[in-house]
């Protein structure tokens, strides 16, 4: 297990602040965050290129905070491949084997093995400048894997590739992870890439760990407004908080929810795909009388914008095309939106 324990590192341009994070053996952790959030710095702290100002880094419960990269056994693959241009593919792949007490025959066998696994056997005698982006990235991944690192760090490994190549390589990475039981930390700014890798996702904001969870957790129940916005939430409202006998009553206009002991500014998020549209009926809490003000066909669903008295901005609901046709939804239609099961409370 790899663990960062309250790690901080301040640089003039980037920072990591009080991050505690662990990656279990065989886990595929994806780190996302806006540009400049400190994602790459976090990887380079794990790698040992930079050392934290405060905090400790453990690998298998051994403190490696002060260890240099060459003693950590961690592989690194950057977005722009960084193949050694003066070495051909086979010597790029074999670069790390010299430091692993690997004889020439064993080195050749391992290079051949990894080249076959990644489908680059035919490139072994080519120089990096003759390779395509996808081929370069396969070589970079192979170069890191051939030394059998206990952790593989991937810094935006697919973002310099065209969509087709990126998609193929993404599937190959998933396959490699499962077949070789790799422990991987993968940094990306691409949310669909993060979701497709299938592992836990950590969201970094201004150097701090803002949210950590599965893709479903972060999409359905983001803990903060930043996480909600980052994962593309719609229907996000600043809530009024009122103390009641049963706890806190959190509400915005006609939408209300009960909360435990959350402190600070609170927000309400209403999941657009869990809003149920009903024929117009009596308005009760969380059954909102609304007017359809826009219908947008998004391909697989229709986004219905609804004006609701008391809500500061229109409410969006996702419905099927069939629903729009069968309920004869059109601009100006009056409907009731049941949001009871669509509400999620989150911190500011």
């Amino acid at each position: 297990m790899i663990k960062l324990d309250r790690v901080s590192c301040e640089w003039p341009e980037f920072a990591i602040r009080d991050v505690t994070l662990w990656v279990n053996e065989g886990e595929y952790l994806v780190i996302v965050g806006p540009t400049g959030a400190g994602k790459t710095l976090l990887l380079e702290l794990l790698l040992g290129i930079h050392h934290p100002d405060i905090g400790q880094i453990f690998i298998d419960e051994i403190d490696v905070t002060k260890l240099p990269p060459e003693k950590r056994g961690i592989g690194m693959v950057y977005q722009d491949y960084l193949l050694f241009p003066h070495l051909d593919v086979s010597r790029n792949l074999a670069f790390g084997l010299r430091y692993r007490q690997c004889g020439p025959d064993e080195a050749r066998r391992r290079v051949q093995e990894i080249a076959e696994l990644l489908g680059i056997s035919h490139l072994l005698h080519r120089y990096p400048y003759t390779l395509s982006g996808g081929e370069k990235q396969r070589v970079a991944i192979g170069r890191a894997l051939v030394t059998e690192p206990r952790l593989l760090l991937l810094d935006e490994p697919l973002s310099a590739l065209d969509r087709g190549t990126a998609s193929r390589l993404r599937n190959e990475l998933k396959l490699l992870h499962s077949t070789k039981k790799l422990t991987v930390v993968h940094v990306t700014h691409d949310l669909s890439e993060a979701r497709q890798m299938g592992g836990p996702i950590a969201l970094i904001k201004d150097g701090r760990l803002d949210a950590l969870g599965t893709a479903d957790d972060l999409l359905r129940r983001p803990p903060t407004v930043f996480a909600a916005n980052f994962f593309g939430a719609v229907n996000l409202y600043r809530a009024e908080v009122e103390k009641t006998d049963r706890g806190m009553r959190v509400g915005v206009g006609p939408v209300v929810a009960e909360s435990g002991h959350m402190e600070g500014a609170l927000y309400l998020m209403i999941h657009p795909d869990e809003v149920v549209l009903l024929p117009a009926s009596l308005e009760t809490p969380n059954h909102l009388c609304c007017e359809v003000i826009a219908l947008t066909d998004e391909g697989n669903y229709v986004a219905v914008q609804l004006r609701v008295a008391g809500l500061p901005s229109p409410l969006t609901a996702y419905v099927s095309r069939h629903f729009v046709r069968s309920q004869i939804l059109e601009l100006g239609s009056i409907v009731t939106a049941d949001v009871e099961r669509a509400i999620h409370i989150l911190r500011g």
């Binding site: 240099p68 592989g75 690194m76 950057y78 241009p85 790390g96 010299r98 400048y129 170069r143 690192p149």
Partner: protein, 255 residues
């Protein structure tokens, strides 16, 4: 663009005309005869070998400094870069006098070195090396720094993640990617060193370098007598310069 082309052509002519004139108006037999003169041969040997040693020393100290300037952030870095460039802007006669105050027989370092270790760094061959080193150092340091800056430091990070130590990454990745820049810097340092006269004449007039000899012959015997020696020196410098440039120029895309 026509005006620019004319300006460019005039500049090229300004460089090439005196060189071609010297090369093609000197009788080859006189150049050969001059080359056979023992005083000339000794001066050529002293000049080339002292320039070579000065270049090696400047590489030995300039490569680490160039690497630090390319990779590290530290207080006073701009000042260090300014100091490195100083020998380029200081008139070389002044450089010679300044060096004499430090390394001369009565100099701050020269005197104790002579007294305690019997090492003399002026009025001899090592004085010439010292003067050449002083004027040539900026070229090596600046070329090394620029060369190292072109290598992405993350390339070294990757090498280190694969098991190379910092020094291992430097020698297995950075040096193979920058050796042409280092060689270019060395060529310029060497070229600057063999052409140095002002500071050399002050710190070590004897033994005579080719420039000292040329200056002396010109003063005593005049232009015509000196011309074959000047041509000989020009030929040697051009041959070595062209040869090394050919090695230092990349022959195919490497990145």
């Amino acid at each position: 663009m026509a005006v620019f082309s004319i300006a460019g052509c005039l500049l090229i002519l300004f460089i090439i005309l005196p060189i071609l004139n010297l090369l093609f108006t000197t009788e080859p037999s006189r150049v050969i005869k001059t080359a056979m003169d023992p005083a000339v041969r000794s001066a050529i040997l002293i000049t080339l070998s002292a320039a070579f040693i000065a270049t090696l020393v400047s590489l030995l100290f300039g490569v680490p400094l160039g690497y630090l300037l390319a990779r590290e952030r530290f207080a006073g870095k701009a000042m260090v870069e300014g100091i490195v460039d100083m020998p380029v802007v200081i008139p070389h006669t002044i450089a010679g006098i300044a060096l004499l105050f430090i390394f001369g027989r009565a100099g701050i370092l020269g005197a104790p070195l002579k007294t305690h270790l019997d090492i003399q760094l002026s009025d001899n061959y090592w004085g010439i090396v010292l003067a050449m080193l002083f004027v040539g150092l900026p070229f090596v340091v600046n070329h090394c720094r620029d060369g190292f800056m072109k290598v992405d430091p993350r390339m070294e990070y990757v090498a280190r993640s694969l098991g190379a130590s910092r020094l291992g990454a430097f020698f297995r990745v950075t040096i193979p990617l920058t050796w042409r820049a280092l060689l270019s810097g060395a060529i310029l340092t060497w070229a600057r060193a063999i052409s140095e006269f002002g500071s050399v004449a002050i710190i070590a007039y004897y033994p005579k370098t080719i420039n000292t000899l040329l200056f002396e012959w010109y003063n005593f015997f005049g232009y015509t007598y000196t011309k074959p020696l000047a041509t000989l020196l020009l030929l040697i410098a051009l041959a070595i310069f062209v040869g090394l440039r050919a090695i230092a120029t990349p022959k195919r895309a490497e990145h």
